[in-house]
Symmetry: C5
Subunit: 372 residues, 5 copies
């Protein structure tokens, strides 16, 4: 074994890129499988994944003939005894070994070295939450070598995108909030400080499963909208209409607690779910104002009638019904009542138009955008 110059103290073996001519680049073949997504944090704009990272490169310093070493075609070596390329993920916030660090690499008799790691990766990912919770996110994992230019180290994808996607989907150990749509690979040469660098970009596309948000937020809010609309048919007189509507508003406040939990304060543009929630909150608010106005108009009418009433029989006053005798007070009262009714009808029509216009627009913008 010492023939292979592998000892603990071999400085050259450990520190120097294993090429005899420093102008020869080391070709590194890389594969990255996503085996589970454990967290997508919209607030921190980060994604936590478990990935399998495989790399293969050539070590020119080591080579042996199988015949000389009892037909041994491959051996496992401790990592810290040879040179390992410094390949990192640019977006990484934290990279940890998913297991205790694998101490070995595999070396074949032709000098090729194979490395296999399961990594737990937390990486930054720019997310657009405008269609939340019907959103599709694309996160990049950019593999590069910070210390070696492309003259020294080239990065090549080992497998193609299709195989990566299907393997990742097969290996996918979790069935969580996110569905893995695809993994695409692309290579780019980036100029940085006067030299070129190889970058291997894995574009991971994920689709959120919106079920919980529909159940606990969108459909209850929609339910409140329907009930608020229906409340126009509640008799305005008894006070229960107002109490009904303000309870709906209170329920909306409770649901705001959920929205507050779910939606991060991130977007520059207003996300649709915020528009949806605000619009319905404000619609209910305005319809309460309208109810107060109508009630006020009707109370005004009755008051005029009543202040005139003593002239009539007291029993008629009792119920404030509309007498057919055409005195001026009653006529004025009728004006008020009619005004109230007209306000009511206009409000309902405007309400329905708003909903009619808004909901389909939102439907297209929100749901459709996520489908295409």
């Amino acid at each position: 074994m010492e023939n292979l110059k592998l000892t603990d103290d071999n400085f050259q073996m450990k520190s120097i890129r294993p090429v005899y001519d420093s102008k020869t680049p080391t070709d590194v073949y890389v594969d990255l499988f996503v085996t589970s997504i454990t967290d997508v944090n919209e607030k921190a704009q980060s994604i936590s994944t478990q990935v399998i990272f495989e790399a293969l490169w050539n070590n020119e310093f080591i080579e042996w003939k199988q015949e000389d070493f009892c037909q041994t075609s491959k051996i496992s070596l401790k990592k810290d005894t040879i040179w390992i390329p410094d390949i990192v993920i640019a977006e990484s916030i934290k990279t940890e070994f998913a297991n205790v660090e694998n101490p070995y690499v595999k070396m074949n008799s032709d000098g090729s070295v194979y490395m296999y790691e399961t990594l737990t990766l937390s990486s930054a990912c720019k997310m657009d939450l405008i269609n939340f919770p019907f959103d599709v996110q694309t996160c990049n994992l950019t593999i590069h070598s910070p210390m070696h230019s492309s003259d020294e180290l080239t990065l090549n994808p080992w497998s193609d995108s299709l195989f990566l996607t299907s393997s990742s989907q097969n290996a996918f150990q979790t069935q969580g909030e996110w569905e893995l749509l695809s993994i695409n690979t692309s290579i780019s040469h980036v100029s940085s400080l006067g030299y070129y660098e190889d970058q291997l970009i894995y574009k991971i596309t994920l689709k959120r499963r919106p079920l919980l948000y529909v159940i606990t937020f969108i459909s209850p809010v929609f339910c409140f909208l329907v009930l608020d609309l229906a409340s126009y048919f509640i008799d305005a007189g008894g006070g229960e209409k107002l109490s009904f509507k303000v309870t709906l508003l209170l329920s909306m406040s409770v649901l705001l607690l959920i929205l507050n939990d779910k939606l991060p304060s991130t977007a520059n543009e207003v996300p649709w779910i915020g528009v949806y929630c605000s619009l319905i909150f404000i619609l209910i608010g305005i319809s309460i104002l309208e109810t107060i106005l109508v009630n006020f108009l009707m109370a005004r009418g009755e008051q005029i009638l009543r202040s005139q009433a003593p002239i009539d029989s007291t029993s008629a006053v009792t119920d404030a019904v509309m007498n057919s005798d055409e005195n001026p007070a009653e006529r004025r009262c009728l004006y008020w009542t009619r005004a109230a009714r007209i306000v009511d009808i206009i409000a309902v029509i405007l309400y329905i138009i708003t909903i009619m216009v808004f909901l389909p627009i939102m439907y297209y913008a929100w749901f459709m955008a996520s489908v295409t």
Copy 2:
């Protein structure tokens, strides 16, 4: 001791698989006991366990006669002085030593090496939450050697499944949300990149204890359903029916906060608890709509009567009772009132049918599925 070639710097001892003929596989006997489950995270689809991991294998390089070493049959050695197999758990997201890393392995005079570790393991686990909280989850722990093919390293279960299950259940230090049902072992040979790899799969079956969810969510929601159904017997006239029902809806919104806390947005299919909650929310919503409709119909009837009333005596109008004099206004009023009553009765019947049909179906699908 130096006879055994054990020194700090012995490269061969530390890095090379301890067989004289590289074609001989190293047989590793493995045991894995689950001693506690500290967390099951449905959102991250991960499970945190404390496991005891034991491994036994043969080191051909070391062997001694007890007579030569003062009858010493076994010695404890520092781990970093000899070769240790690179056995990892494929699903692991994070593996940590539960204690400070055990620095020793035990070596017997016949060359067999025994390793014992208590590990704190966080591993990915595909969970199906359709029956939540009456669900049973099965998590796999796949033990394999990423660097060695089955020609080089074979993995064998040391104990059988029955012993593992009973030992784990005995050693189980916690009495948390999850009950350990069984641990099953299976071996598989998996082809990967042209060579075969040994995999030892531990299938851990867990059953959730649903108590808290029943107390804080399922039974209160059911309680609201019963109260909503009972509210059909509240006199529609006074406005308290509507206020009663909308308060139930508000209480449902509060409970949505709990559902939101508990249920991760994971399933492709709608979990039963979501169906249950949505159905009852919508039932209460529809019954409110129905109440508004009935009130509207009755108010209409009264209004017709009242608008005709001035012809009659004012005192009769006062209470809008049904006079027996059969004028057309009253007849129309009766039509409205009857329509209201019919709507009411049909609604109750539909309501009860919905519940009668739905609840048993859910009972079978939800509870039964988890029992079998």
Copy 3:
């Protein structure tokens, strides 16, 4: 110093148990003080403590005469230069050095070695939450050596339980949710894989301080029970009784959010706090049903009376009072009203009996159990 064979590279010094005859066991004297409890996680069934761990054992390899070394009776040595026993805590989920790891051990001229560590320990602990929040928990810390049998390494308590308890209580730096009642030590010899192992078990008994739970949960819930009971004296007619009771139910839903936060879904048996909460929730629910029934019966009575009324004077109908003229309609009405009253009285009696029976039972089971 080199006379003592202490150099960095001395393999024997670092790796081999320091006895000349491998049959001599190393006697290790151990002390474990609990200096603070930082977290008790009922959900994970784990407890986080800060402990001081002290160990003393003999190193036969080193011994010196004070005269030869300038009267030096003790020296401090770097830990990694000598053998340290592999003592671990079986229940540990995570053991970390509370400070940066202490790099030294103290060695006396007679060869005895003293080690001192402050550890932050997170360990599994089987908790029984049936009496939550009036519970007393007992957590074990089992000290053993996974690699050495009792022939090789014996574990002995250095101080006795009384001293440990009093020292720990004195050193106790926190005054949190838990009160340290006592620490008991016991030694056991456990057979494992054919050889015996020494185990030193520290039994730590803790008592929860239930104040917050009483203030934010138990007493408000009790308050709602009293108010619900009192609401029987509200006049049933006006609709405010129903609205009062359903608001109580809504308040109970809000408190369920707290219960949901506090109580882990762990117990096999129903914990008393769950029973308490469910019972009061259901009592309020049933009393609402009863109110609806009574209102329905009374409305029925009035309706019969009213439908008969036109025969009488309209003014009498106005208020639906009970006329003394004994027509059959009124008699039927009275039956209904009496039925309502009887239902009401029976309900109150049953209600009070339920409370009278249940509360004392719960008092004994819940509070008393925790006292004894």
Copy 4:
């Protein structure tokens, strides 16, 4: 450089306390600045701080003449090449380097060694929450050497308390929930296991900024108290009084969610905020009971009147007004009504007295205690 015996392998340099005569103690001068408080966890009774730790001691083994080494008066050395005192913080739960560990110490030509570390420290701290949120906490950081007695290592404060406090306050990088009042230093010699140990105690005094708690908890609760008191002036008849009061109680339940979030279940004595909250909760509860009683008494009175009414004219019954004709029924009715009124007045007086007595007492105990 080798003249200074500084090589990687120099065992004596690294492991032995740098004195020629082992009876000479090493004098260590220590400074500890608190530069920010990142977390105070009342539940865990721990405090997280960022501290700068400086130490200076003499190394007798190294000394050089500046002339001999090109006038070099000081050099920076790697830490692991020389002896470093084992100084730890007794209360520490977790000590981490705030930056990547500083690999160097500074050595002067006279042999003095200077060490500088920025540490992120999580330490246990006994907190008394009785005045929460107007509390002042005092946390100790006890610096000692677990392995060296005061014969071997003495600990001395480098700067005085005043300088420490002002430097810390200047360096204070955060303006969070806590205000740093002062840092006091004291030295103590503690006997432990037969020898004396030097302890340097830093007493850190912190004052909480109570603003958020006043805004989100204390003032809303007080607001509810005022409204509940004002509700005595609501006309008891209409049912809105009861509904008003029970809504206040519901709002109190919502605020209990906040209290539950903020207040840890720690104190042996009841903290004032708990007393405050419970008292107001119970006051509102009792005042609801009183309202029910008054309503019941008045309903009783009316009922007596009504049951007698048919003797009178039906129109009088209609409104249940008090007729001046003095029949016995009315007189009994008046008794009931008067009883109701008396109960009401007594209740208001008792209510006001309770508040008058309680609030000033609490003001003194709660706010005053924190000022002095």
Copy 5:
């Protein structure tokens, strides 16, 4: 390679600052790019960022002629084989390598050494939350060498502020709650313990995106204010006004839960959002008090009228209308009613004035301050 004296054991190479004359300072050129902000914790007053840290300095010990080494102009070396400057970030609470630590530095033939690290940095930052959520925060990252004075090590910015800002904004991988406005660099020489130290200060200016807070807190609270104001037009008589207003107060309590979540208890001055919330809470509270007062006055009036009523015809009493017959009771009644009306009007006017004065002031102080 050994010509360059690079071996594992070269003590001088690893530990000594690479200058031949210890009086020559080492000039270090530093760059720091902020590539993402993952968390801003107002409670802990800390900010978590991912930064790219680049440094370049000269190593006088190493130099080679490209001709002698096969035209190799640069090599990558393992970090632990040469001296690395001890540059730290003073505000850092925790610095971690974003990837597995980069093991290499790049060395050019002229002796210049280039280091590149991606760091995950959690640093203390003094935040002023008075304008929350419309706030702009400025966080400093102070780079210095704790062990080297400016005579030994000088720190220089590599790139200028403009380039840093634009590069950081381009590299910015996240689109979270915070927008990066600019990065400014400044150098300062700080005196510390008698010698001068170089400090390179990066001032990072961030602007919060306030959207979520506007949707879930500020606009709903404003909505409640408008509704409360509108409720003055609700007819005071029926009790629904009070119930409406107390439900608004309850909704405010629910929103307090959100405020409690969002706003840390930090500021010395009251932040505007707290002022805003408290003011509206108190305005609603006072308007409830006013409603109770008005109702009380009107009830008083009616009571006087009623107690006089039996003298009149009972039918008149029934509705407590204002008879035109001018008896003293009615006149007193009118006084009360007028008082009620005057109180009502004054209250509305004061209410509107308060809002008119307060809202614009707040608009300037709150929004404007954040713009400029």
